[in-house]
Amino acid sequence: MKEGKELFLINIKSGEDAEIISILGGQMVNKRLSDLGLTPGTKIKVLRKAPFWGPIEIEVRGSKLVLGRGLASKILVKRYE
């Protein structure tokens, strides 16, 4: 696996793997996401994106989570290629 460039989680295609670099946004958002195991350095896989600009489903630490698009556009990741 080669490390790719930095982009936001919403720009990752379904089926691709990535690693969280940082989460932009307030302390609340950061806290909530870290409670779910989404912290910098965490590896994630985008499973699917709902049509019509809907939420995205990711796999993280062996479980599946759904995040709204607005939230996904605040999560900076690097893509594995």
Binding site: T39, P51, R61, S63, L65, V66, G68
Partner: protein, 641 residues
């Protein structure tokens, strides 16, 4: 051994099967109430086990014990201050790593705990192996494999917990990274002389996390400690380059991941699991939507058909009862008041049995199967347009059964703003009683297509008003964060209990109003005031809405109970063949106004309870004017056609 009293709590994240375990432990011996002064559900129950009387408290399903929501504060305060004999931490074994993040926080509260590792029945299928003994060693608490759905392992959880009580073993304190531990140690030393009921190490960690609730305890008398904490925080933030709250969260995630690595072995099955296969369709880019529509069309059609059939059966059974009553008690005033009270109870049953119960049974089957989470996923974008997120679909759908439990279920929404918008919108959802009117008036005499047209109109209204409300109300929409559960075979016990609890909401809240309103109506009727009410309202009913004057009476009594509109219409007209007395346009207008004009009195009471009287009155007044306005416009437009 004497009957010993024990006090235990169930704690765990959402969707770990906690309620299945709770139901299994307590069955119907449970009491659902509210935490004092909070709109958070509190479920308690009692059971007997090997000479012990055990009080079980089900803490709200939450993601962490840091201050994020009321539920979380309630849970950690309860564990820290009320000191239960032991905590049963229910954990989803198929999601161990993420669940451990929460478990670590429970253990930090230093209460005796048992880890109930649920869903072990799914391990084989998912290729998961967990070394329980090793997990037990690492955490220092008993780990019990559980298959809650089959009732396996639950009594062992109690057994191991009771062993703990006699020994008072505390869980091991697990260590974070060295830099963090150094600061924790420093702060713990400052805290030695402080007399607070919380464990010192936990308090130190919370202070490092900048927990507002805990900081407040120190602000007045011990601000010097907060200064020391601030120094520690700055040192940590210097080293790691993140906010200290994130650093601690990171440490916890790291620790959970380390533990998971040591105890879990996963051999991923090579072929697609059944769950993934179902999701290929139910979450498909295009086909998921027709599938969703088909599922709900089927659900609603089944309920309408069944409800119509069953309620006519019930009517047949109770039709002759009045004669019997009159034969026994005569025709006195007291007897007719008594009969009204009985009739109100009958009408409650005639709504509950044919419509509300089947509806909630099906809905909770869909939820327990895992489908409602998919609906939230698919509808999130649409719901965002009206200022809420995908999860508010669930209260809105409950509203089709009865608005009362639907309003109560708005508590699943995270913020006050979303709770209110969703609550307001659920009052516009055509509930069972309104379905009776729409189907009995429009469906029967105008055409089924028009009846569905009214439904569609209601849904469009909900979207329109939701959009408006989200524009007017201050604040931003929060984003959807939700776990996507795997499909699983629904647990019928849980489905039945959930249905029963929602039904209880309906009976307890709506019941008294329905009975009292029945008696009031009879009083007004006997006093001969009905014609004056009709006259008084005739400028609105006759001039603006184009309806007969008697409908004024109906609309007043419809506030008490919506389906009364139909019942009283038949009584006042002296016939149930409404087409003889009303034109199609009049029937449509009446149904439309009845559908929109006001939540019934039981719903107003729940709105009051949940959102305060100002908002309850505001919604009521708004909906009256709104419905009358729309009704008048509809009357004129329909008359043109």
């Amino acid at each position: 051994m004497n009957e010993k009293k024990l006090n235990i709590v169930l704690a765990g994240q959402a969707n770990v099967g906690k309620s299945v375990i709770f139901n299994h432990l307590t069955g119907l011996h449970q009491h659902i109430g509210n935490w004092p002064g909070k709109t958070v559900e509190k479920a308690e129950g009692t059971l007997h086990y090997k000479g012990h009387t055990i009080d079980v408290l089900d803490l709200p399903g939450i993601y962490s014990l840091t201050t994020y929501s009321i539920e979380e504060i309630i849970s950690r305060e309860y564990i820290a201050l009320r000191k239960p004999d032991f905590v049963v931490n229910v954990v989803d074994g198929t999601n161990l790593e993420r669940n451990l993040i929460f478990s670590l926080q429970i253990l930090e509260l230093e209460s005796p705990a048992v880890l109930a590792l649920n869903f072990v029945n799914l391990f084989k299928e998912k290729g998961i192996e967990i070394n329980y003994k090793k997990l037990e060693e690492i955490l220092g608490v008993p780990v019990v494999p559980v298959a809650a759905i089959h009732g396996k392992g639950i009594s062992e959880v109690l057994g191991r917990g009771i062993e703990l009580v006699s020994g008072r073993i505390k869980p091991k304190s697990l260590k974070y990274g060295q830099e963090v531990e150094t600061e924790i140690k420093k702060i713990t030393e400052f805290l030695t002389s402080i007399d607070l009921p919380y464990p010192k190490r936990w308090l130190a960690i919370k202070l490092l996390e900048k927990d507002r609730e805990m900081e407040r305890l120190f602000e007045t008398e011990h601000s010097e400690i907060l200064k020391k904490v601030k120094e520690s925080i700055l040192r940590l933030e210097e080293i790691h380059g993140h906010d200290s709250a994130i650093i601690i969260a990171n440490e916890r995630c790291h620790l959970a991941s380390e533990i998971a690595k040591k105890v879990i072995k996963i051999t991923k099955p090579s072929k697609l699991s059944l769950n993934e296969k179902i999701d290929l369709l139910t979450l498909h880019k295009i086909w998921s939507y027709p599938v969703m529509l088909a599922i709900f069309a089927l659900v609603f059609l089944t309920i309408f058909k069944f409800g119509n059939w069953f309620s006519s059966v019930l009517e047949g059974i109770t039709a002759g009862w009045w004669m019997g009553w009159e034969n026994i008690f005569g025709a006195s005033i007291l007897a007719s008041f008594g009969w009204m009270a009985i009739k109100s109870v009958i009408s409650l049953i005639e709504i509950a049995l044919p419509y509300i119960i089947p509806f909630y049974l099906i809905l909770y089957l869909l939820e327990d199967w895992g489908y409602l989470a998919r609906v939230a996923f698919l509808m999130d974008n649409l719901m965002h347009k009206i200022g809420v997120h995908g999860k508010s679909c669930i209260p809105l759908m409950l509203g089709f059964g009865c608005n009362v439990p639907a309003c109560l279920s708005c508590r699943i929404m995270e913020t006050e703003r979303e709770r209110f918008i969703t609550g307001f919108l659920t009052t516009l959802v055509p509930c069972s009683a309104r379905t009776v009117i729409i189907m009995g008036l429009v469906g029967k005499f105008v055409g089924i297509g028009w009846a569905f047209g009214l439904y569609l109109f209601a849904i469009l209204m909900i979207f329109g008003l939701g959009k408006l409300a989200s524009k007017i109300l201050p604040g931003e929409a929060t984003e959807l964060i939700m776990e996507m559960p795997d499909y699983r075979i629904p647990d019928l016990r849980t489905v039945f209990l959930q249905t029963w609890f929602r039904l209880k909401d309906f009976l307890y809240v709506a019941g008294p109003f329905v009975i009292i309103s029945g008696i009031i109506i009879e009083g007004i009727h006997l006093a001969g005031w009905l014609p004056s009410i009709a006259n008084f309202l005739s400028p609105i009913t006759v001039k603006w809405l184009g309806l007969p004057a008697i409908t004024g009476i109906l609309l007043i009594f419809g506030i008490l109970r919506k389906e009364l509109i139909l019942v009283m219409l038949a009584a006042l007209l002296g016939t149930a063949n409404f087409a003889q007395a009303l034109s199609s346009v009049q029937m449509l207008t009446l149904a439309l106004v009845s559908m929109l004009y006001i939540p019934c009195i039981a719903t107003i009471a729940v709105l009051w309870w949940e959102f305060g009287w100002r908002k309850a009155v505001g919604i009521t007044i708004f909906e009256i004017f709104f419905a009358i306005g729309i009704g008048g416009i509809a009357f004129r437009l329909l008359s043109l056609a």
